[in-house]
Symmetry: D2
Subunit: 403 residues, 4 copies
């Protein structure tokens, strides 16, 4: 298993669903403050700045191809100061991280696998070596959806040194959570096993605990134990958004991955598109909106993520959170299943009735999901299987917890 | 998980590797007697009659296409009486099963998925119904390597009734272990999920405990939790024989499947081609022979199967067993890892050095495998990882246990 | 190229689209009589009895699994006499064939690849040999959608003899056209190359000219020259029916296959679902109906089939033919392109405008197809490319010939 | 068909097999001079400078990742002047081309699909537009084996203008033959259809005849008619070298592609690794050497390429050519089949005997190939098929022409 033995799956907030690549320092701070005040007591603690914090002109989830990136002399990306003013004088995220920590929270950032193409074309030196960017860049490894980086050829001298050099920086900044993208399932090259190993090694060298989260999915099941050994979280699907087809599909994935869930090993259903999202994002068929999920679907999502023990990362603008959603995020039964559950697994799947079971707190919990598009009465076999007293009625896409 | 909660993986003997499709009653009894006397005390207890016990002319591992099969009036296969004399008067395996049980052992048989083609072309009635074989046979589902059966179309009325009718018979015979073939990975149609469910249901209806073993492999990893729910064992590969390439390949499979191992859920590395095998088998590049595995390879196989907790099914003629092999089958450390191990997993795989770890008996056990083709000294990192005191030397394909 | 050097693609009628597997002798004769009177003068001459003429209970396009088939003592299928009364006394199709020939037409039948399963389970002798059906049946080769036959293992002695024995019969019956099914693209086993070679050889031995037509499709392009060498027609798609999506898709196939068209080599777009079809067929989303194609779509189909030089086989009940359709089948420009065209090929495909060109009669013919779902004016570049004088307007799915 | 109606397949010389990416002007001139004197009279006329003539440090077939390229202010690559001294003052290949033309020969160059990465990172202007390199570069399209270029996104304004700008230059230089690489089969993205169309359009706009050759292979058969419409040559395989396995495999490819051969449409078996090759190339298991092909194999290659009508491009240093090889290149029967053949096709392929047939000069030519590894007597059926008078004996990998 990966070095960090997190006994419970991480919970927190990530800037992607609401701000795409364009979040600013003040927005991060406001969301962090809200979380500290309203959610920390219920276990929500990570604040994660998603992709392209080093891109000064980022303004949505749409990337500017070949944009100039903020970078130091060793090809290490730095926060764009126009967006993160506290990053002046090359201190990076240190000040923002200190602020987040001062609230009792933990701080995370997103990176892309590899080294900036800009560093390679400038052929900058690799910190602590006599080598240069062109010596380690993988000539023919790119991300298929973003132009920032080249992959790194781990067979080359200096390759590990570059990853070491960036993680040294992140440790100095006080980073607690690192989300690495274009690595768990590259659409061009499958999974980048060697770069994952290198990142693991680089983190371990820092001596600092950092949650290692790998994106995007679907991470291949055949590498399940590999991910357990080297990472803490890995995505089960491509980006998840607020539509029912994706939510329904997640049931199949969770059923397949349930044996891999345990301390430090958290297969990841992706961010929760609840509340107010899409403020500066055009992904997910998106626009500035309240989640398109019905309340039943929101309950279903939160319940599946909880019983399966997925990481829970909020995708919305927290300062706009409504009471109903806040209540859902604090729901105590979901929290018990999520934080204390053992041996969770699907025990029934027939005719759009799905039943999951978990053991927590010396109790067996059951969840019944009505995945059909109509309101239905729970059939006798489900009543028996889930130890219900009566045949309950469930509206479309809703669920029911019993124990 | 499947109904039968076996707390330890099954151990026993199977007739395939040595007699192909042609084993006789007296051979089964002699092997059973040997097992009762020499191996039962070390946990070996299942005696399994493999494929085509209903085929009177079977004489090796090569099938006679379209041969006439011994069958009752309801299309249920019966033991060929020329090969199993105690099966006279339609009592099936009852007498042989009684004998095996009298030795303190358990009795198993092999079947093919489906209904005999012979029953379909004769259009026999399905026991307990007004239906006939043609009503339930799947018109276009065959086994790609044997002509005995058609698959059953589980969408048809009477389909479950046929499976119920054969398992009723097996329960009456006293069957404790059922190996179902052409079902976990059909080379033509992938996994037969619906027929697996039907067999599970038919077993449960009998009220008798039967280990459910599914063949052949590779069973798809994506159905891993499905297999856990409906079966007890399922094969990781196609037929395993005494050659190093297959043994080496098994390491990858075990590493992928380790999270699925636990009570009643035993991913299966297949029979152990040790000792005297191939007496009437032409499979596996075979002939009447002593295993082609070196002693180091035999140790490696037994150790991988044990730490991974695969079922252990002997493939050889037991009455010919030599002392060295007998000793290996009684090895106490292997037995501890196999019967009591928890959280077994590969923790290192680099440069043909593989290390596994398991927890048993309040101790952590390590196994170091030298998968290379040369004798080598264990590297420092392996010494550290496996808590060795010194750098041991391992010959090619050998292994070392430490704790 | 295959032995038969047909200088023009075959034209005729086939019973499948209208009667499924159930056509009767009187229906065949009525359609033949109509063709002789109304279409023969325009080149339509083949009358083909499609699948399962040997199945007494056939009543639609839905097959009766494992039905008893009419068969001689050598496992050769014979016409079911309840459906084909002139087949009494074992004369097979001789009398029907004589009738068709008396009208100046040619006679064809459909067969499935292989030997009847019924012959194998009875183990009948192979005519002219000391061998039996089980000696040549391919143990594990079936059709995935029909239970009549087993494939034949061409590596076995007697395999060619069986194919020789059935084609000898067909030659005696006076068969001019043979459509062999489950052979060009088996959904289970790809293309059956060896059985195609054996059928070619069996036809050649008879000394009789027979068009060899292979089904179903899509025949793989990589075997294009193989089909040219051994057959005369092979299908480009699975069964074609009266819906626009399939018709639109045929354009891509024709564009790919155009270099393979020439004397004796006719890539086949399948039967024409014009007029009154589906009388006893439930395929193609079907029912007793007039074709669902609009008039524009019918023109488009006939024009594509003609310029591409596909075989033209009518699928409808001819005695119900309306004047508009009859006129279309006699259209002289289509006939010129179809019978005399050379170097036909797609020369433009952009924005749902497709243009084809062929050379016939010292003239270059162009066809413009509007594959979009709306009425549109031909763009300037199309006007120029197709040597039009003006910008014509085409309704959705229509076409225009110019020269 | 592509605009250029070449009635015979091109013949000439290409620098790759002997000099990799590193050929110099003087080497090109020496080879051209030899060709003019010794081979032009036998139809050999193209002189092609292969990949990376714009890379000053190129020294073998191994590319220098991210090397600086010689480029003009519009991102158009120019010959490296240290290697091509006549390219001074921005005149490009004009002087070298003039020299080649003065010998009565034709001049060709190689390019990679796309726009230099260097141009994109510098964001140079696109000639004749207000746009810049970043506006048209395809953000996520690279060559998997060379770092020079990004693909071009043909959906962007300015994309066609860039291709127009480079072909305008090539026309000014007097280029007669253009080999475009990373386009017919990208290992990452299959075939780049839109960029092929754009290049066709750019060539046509110049008004100059240029042979358009697409690499590498295998070009997909399903795009066969697309290639016919837009190009003149396209590769059937990845790089071809002097080993028997590749040569034997080419027979299958030629058999599949034979219907596509005709005026202006030349499926391409790749360069001929005859004579002295590998002087500065490390590809093909290579080193400075005489071809590893036996004389029989060289005959077989030349004969297959000729009867199939592949382009014939010599790969060797011509000034080192021996008499035996020179004789082979001037062989009159091969020349007749190559320049005048019609309807060439494989007519037999069984047991490693392959027979091809072509029609030329009112004669039918046959070629018998012994693809087995032993000397064998031609079987009776081959003797008959190829109209031989006697049963000839052929050594391994040899061939025999008859007519």
């Amino acid at each position: 298993m990966a070095n960090l033995k997190m006994t419970t799956p991480p919970k927190g907030w990530n800037s992607w669903d609401v701000y795409g690549a364009s979040v600013t320092e003040s927005e991060v701070k406001e969301n962090a403050a809200y979380m500290a005040e309203n959610l920390l007591s219920h276990g929500w603690e990570y604040v994660v700045v998603d992709i392209q914090w080093y891109e000064p002109t980022a303004d949505s989830s749409h990337y500017h191809a070949f944009a100039e990136l903020k970078m130091d002399e060793y090809g290490r990306l730095l926060p764009a100061e126009n967006r993160f003013p506290s990053a002046v004088n090359g201190v990076g995220f240190k000040n923002l991280s200190d602020y987040v920590h001062s609230l009792g929270l933990k701080f995370g950032i997103h990176i892309m696998r590899g080294i900036p193409r800009q560093a390679v074309h400038l052929n900058v030196p690799i910190a602590g070596t006599n080598l240069r960017a062109r010596d380690i860049a993988h000539a023919n490894s790119i991300c298929p959806w973003n132009t920032d980086m080249y992959g790194i050829d781990m067979g080359k001298e200096g390759a590990q040194a570059y990853y070491d050099s960036i993680f040294k920086l992140y440790a100095e900044w006080g980073v607690d959570f690192i989300k690495v993208d274009d690595i768990a399932d590259s659409k061009l090259y499958s999974t980048h096993l060697e770069e994952i190993k290198a990142i693991r090694k680089a983190i371990d060298k820092t001596g600092r605990d950092m949650v290692l989260s790998l994106s995007p999915g679907p991470a291949p099941l055949k590498y399940g134990t590999f991910f357990q050994e080297y990472a803490n979280m890995w995505r089960l699907t491509d980006d998840f958004w607020d539509n029912w087809e994706q939510l329904k599909d997640m049931f199949t994935r969770c059923a397949q991955w349930s044996p891999f869930v345990g301390p430090g090993s958290w297969p990841d259903c992706d961010m929760l598109p609840l509340g107010h999202i899409g403020i500066r994002s055009v992904d997910g068929g998106g626009a500035d909106r309240l989640t398109r999920f019905t309340k039943a679907e929101q309950r279903t999502m939160m319940t599946l993520w909880s019983i399966f023990r997925s990481p829970l990362m909020l995708g919305c603008e927290l300062t706009d959170l409504d009471d109903w959603t806040l209540h859902l995020l604090r729901e105590p039964t979901l929290k018990i299943m999520h934080q204390e559950g053992r041996n969770a697994r699907q025990i029934h799947n027939e005719d759009d009735w799905v039943v999951w079971q978990t053991e927590a707190n010396a109790t067996v919990y059951y969840v019944i999901f009505n995945l059909s598009d109509t309101e239905r009465v729970t059939p006798t076999e489900i009543v028996a299987l889930a130890k219900l007293k009566n045949s309950e009625t469930l509206v479309a896409h809703d669920c029911l917890v019993s124990y």
